[in-house]
Symmetry: D2
Subunit: 338 residues, 4 copies
């Protein structure tokens, strides 16, 4: 941590802060310059953070040197983590395609959609039962009934399934029905929820918050990891920017960047990342190319009757085209379909 | 709702969509242009939203005409709502100053801080007991013990108090200790939490999410309102932008804008909105000037020993200066101190 | 400047970089930590910048300590600069209101608009003759004819005038007609233009680019200053964010922040900052409250016939209301109308 | 264009606006709803834009239906434009790799860098002579001497070359030295420059402004096109967002989206788009996968001595790796190296 003092700060005040640093057994550094006194504190940034040095009236600003996530960092574990999702391995040399409708709507819909995605080679099934919706007047999901239908379709077609969790009190219920939890973008910093999922052993697909920095995303993963659940899969799903031609701005830089910093698998959601059916295919291929370990896409046997997110859901023709076109890219990346 | 069709869409396809609109008893409009067929649907956008017309393969895009929040809108209620926070009225012709530390840390700290803010004229006390923190390694709050201390200080100094709620299961517990709930920025779209607080009758200070649009913020308020709790106070606390010189970008436009669209009271948090002690005063004054009904600021009897947010907390000298300087602006705005 | 090395960097590589730092007579620092080697370089960041240390393959990242602007900084000059705009002084204890139409459209329009703003107390006149427009099909301004009309109205009503410059080759021509140059948001980093205006002695109102950081804005001011023109007025006019309810997000934090860092006067443009007529007044008052030295607003004798920006232009009733309501705030700020 | 009136608007006022629409020979529509009167105007949005209907006091908001760019739109020309850059064709079924240093620094540097990029298969050479730099104290380029050196290296290695233009007055000079103009991000809305380049016949690589929407980018292309120069190549180079782990957020969504909306070729700059050497390769591959027609990357024979942008420049090892790894992706995309 580097501590820049205000121009008017004196040596006495600098010593005061250095003493604080020493008090927690970190190494203090004193660097008087021509324009400012600069201080350094070397050691665990987690301890430094709690010192709250920025609050001193003579501190102009504080710059961290090291990241504050540790357990999910490649510095702690250099090899890629592989996460077991049902009988599918995510991470390492394979590329996983998880697909299914935004929400489970009824038996026919989830079965027909599962059949469709299985037919063209998806290895996992997605479907929401508890839907966080911007408006209180929108369809909020079938709740436990939806979970039952999802599980039945999952078994029928041999596809492990994932659904979103929105309440810490639901962990046990969901564990009975699904193979993985999804933590949605709006809940990425719902720390109660992260801790609850961290106490399970089922894998967690952690979606990036729409304005979360990469560091915050990895710290959210660290919350889950820190409770004992090491089966965390990071999911880039687009961030919110000024650009409104697409629903979100899919940040594939983040994928390439996280792969250098963390050992966790990273997947991409090009459906929410673009919000436009025609762009899902190109961006899924780009996800392969920049190093992602998989994609999660919305597919529906008949998007026109979907109760949510229809505009970004792939129908059979689009899903078939995606699966067909993505294969040479998976091969170019030196990977195999999971 | 305006529905723009793709250039290749035919009249037959247009009719298909018009039939959908009629099926829910809304008024359809057919507008064939030189370059596109454009359709209209007039009526309640909440119903239209659920039609999911955007999913039709021939729809290029869909533009809502009316906002989807209703109950919190000025169109439903033109006069200002006033919310009772303990014995303080928020909204209408008064201006409320709520102050206190980021987190309750111990008895001495919360009592001394409460004494300080009371001395200079604050009318409410803030203090966190359950702290949502970006890193799992940061101080997470004193939990129920913190609530007890907050309540004691609140009673001792005659200041109604507010604390953040982070778990839907905590509503009843918090109701015993505090006069208002705060819903934090990270939980603005934690819909489980919004609904839980909506079932209480205690006021809720709803903070804007760091990348929430104004419409999403008002829809979050609508979630609470829709459950029966009409005591909602909107709080602008800064949004996340590219600018990093300040912790957030305080969006005072939003305050002036919401005052034209909604009847709910709006307060401003210049502490999180700037992250810099020296800017809290100027931005609190700007909040008065643009029409806010109050401010909520972080103040600590000794910020240097604060366990969180020390750099933006006001000490006695800064708090005294703020209270002194803000008064002529409250007067200029034609208001009185609550 | 703080230089964080990659985990695999060796002492030999660190020494290589330290030698580079010494070669330009700056003070090098060696800080071996448990996880990383960290280096420091104390001295003029402008020299450090040109060393391009970030390019070394063993450098993980580089953090500047000091800002790179110098001449416009309060550290070089602690008292407020006052800029003479015609016979009006901007900066110091007065508050200046500059008003007028977006573009000069014809003689009647600029005269009637000048008469209107003079009547209610504006001290300067604005009006564009060369208009940078997003679409090539929009009205592009009257060019030199517009300048002539602007000058005539300016003289008739005793209001110094300002217009936007868009071409470095226009400096001499504009000098004949106007009392100040405006550098528009889109040209804030048109460095050719900044240098050309820097060689004039007429004041320059430098508008913040729509995605410019405060540091970039001050460096753009430094470009003008560095050429010899010290009559620079900073103008906050809103930044581009995800929020689309308003045209831009007016960043008043930036005003309060720049006032602490720079000695230059700062004015605010609430017309572009909001894009909505009804919000111009509240945000102009907020500009006073957070410490601005003036505002520049769009006013038109009949906005309905305006050729550009009509939706944010004040008509007579709105302008009169603004001038009436802003006065108590100017007084509360301890300032007088310029 | 859809025009939503305020709740208090009367039929008389609606008729007033409809008359305005008819006066320019566009088709007006009157849609009285339960909550609002909504009006429509069908026809060329360019004409509608100039009507300035938003300025009417009874208009709440205005929503365009069609985009305002026309000539660069796929609706005007459905097949892909191919642009001739020296003897290289950009667009259509080939993928072009343009590489070279950020700035031309001296003869040795530009020759060695050109030799390097040629050796591994680049088809074009980049190099700046006039550098727009954030700080006035940074290296500003060799100017005309740099152009001479660039041209010599270009001829020596048989690589057509491109350099940035920053002044409308430079068009003729640059035409003598280079095969294409680059319009930098900061100048994307320097309309004087766009018009000047539009009067040349040399190709123009138009970089997206760092906060420019896709529509603004296409309108900037329309400015060039409208002056008669149809050789426009769009370049996505990253936008400015809240994320600071990477220099910019490379918006590959924009590439896939523009390919559906415009017939112009689109290339990607992963060097500025990431700012980190290690991410250039992955993002160049992602550019291929999402449909780009080429990439432009910074490569330097010895980045450690580069005077600008060294941290994102590829050295020989990184450039060789990129060229080697990108080929299977070009093949997977069904394209050939240009």
């Amino acid at each position: 941590m580097i501590i820049v003092l205000k121009p008017e700060a004196t040596e006495v005040e600098a010593k005061e802060i250095l003493a604080q640093i020493e008090s927690v057994n970190l190494k203090p550094l004193y660097m008087p310059g021509t324009e400012r006194i600069v201080l350094g504190a070397l050691g665990d940034e987690r301890i430094l953070n709690n010192l709250n040095i920025g609050a001193h009236p003579m501190v102009e600003n504080v710059k961290p040197i090291l990241s504050t996530y540790k357990q999910v960092s490649r510095e702690l574990q250099s090899h890629d983590t592989q996460v077991q999702f049902g009988d599918v391995t995510i991470g390492g040399g394979s590329f996983a395609i998880i697909a299914g409708p935004c929400a489970v709507e009824n038996r026919e819909q989830i079965f027909k959609s599962a059949e469709l995605v299985k037919k063209y080679g998806a290895v996992g099934l997605r479907g929401g039962a508890f839907k966080p919706r911007t408006s209180p007047y929108s369809f909020q999901g079938l709740e436990e009934e939806g979970l039952q239908l999802l599980q039945e379709a999952s078994k029928e077609y041999g596809l492990p399934c994932v659904t979103e969790i929105i309440d810490p009190a639901h962990v046990e219920m969901l564990e009975q029905y699904v193979d993985a939890f999804q933590i949605g973008a709006r809940n990425m910093q719902n720390f109660k929820l992260l801790k609850a999922v961290g106490q399970s052993h089922k894998p967690a697909i952690l979606k990036r918050g729409m304005s979360a920095t990469i560091e915050e995303l990895l710290l959210a993963a660290e919350y889950i990891y820190n409770e004992g659940n090491q089966n965390v899969i990071i999911c880039e799903r687009g961030i919110r920017t000024f650009e409104k031609a697409t629903r979100n701005t899919l940040d594939l830089n983040a994928v390439a960047y996280i792969k250098t910093k963390s050992h966790l698998p990273v997947i991409v959601d090009p459906s929410h990342g673009t919000g436009i059916r025609e762009l899902v295919g190109p961006m899924a291929k780009a996800a392969v190319a920049c190093g992602a370990d998989g994609v999660i896409v919305e597919a529906h046997y008949n998007p026109q009757v979907a109760l949510s997110d229809g505009a970004q859901s792939l129908d059979e023709a689009h899903f078939a085209k995606l699966m067909n076109e993505i294969k040479p890219f998976i091969q170019a990346a030196g990977k195999v379909v999971a």
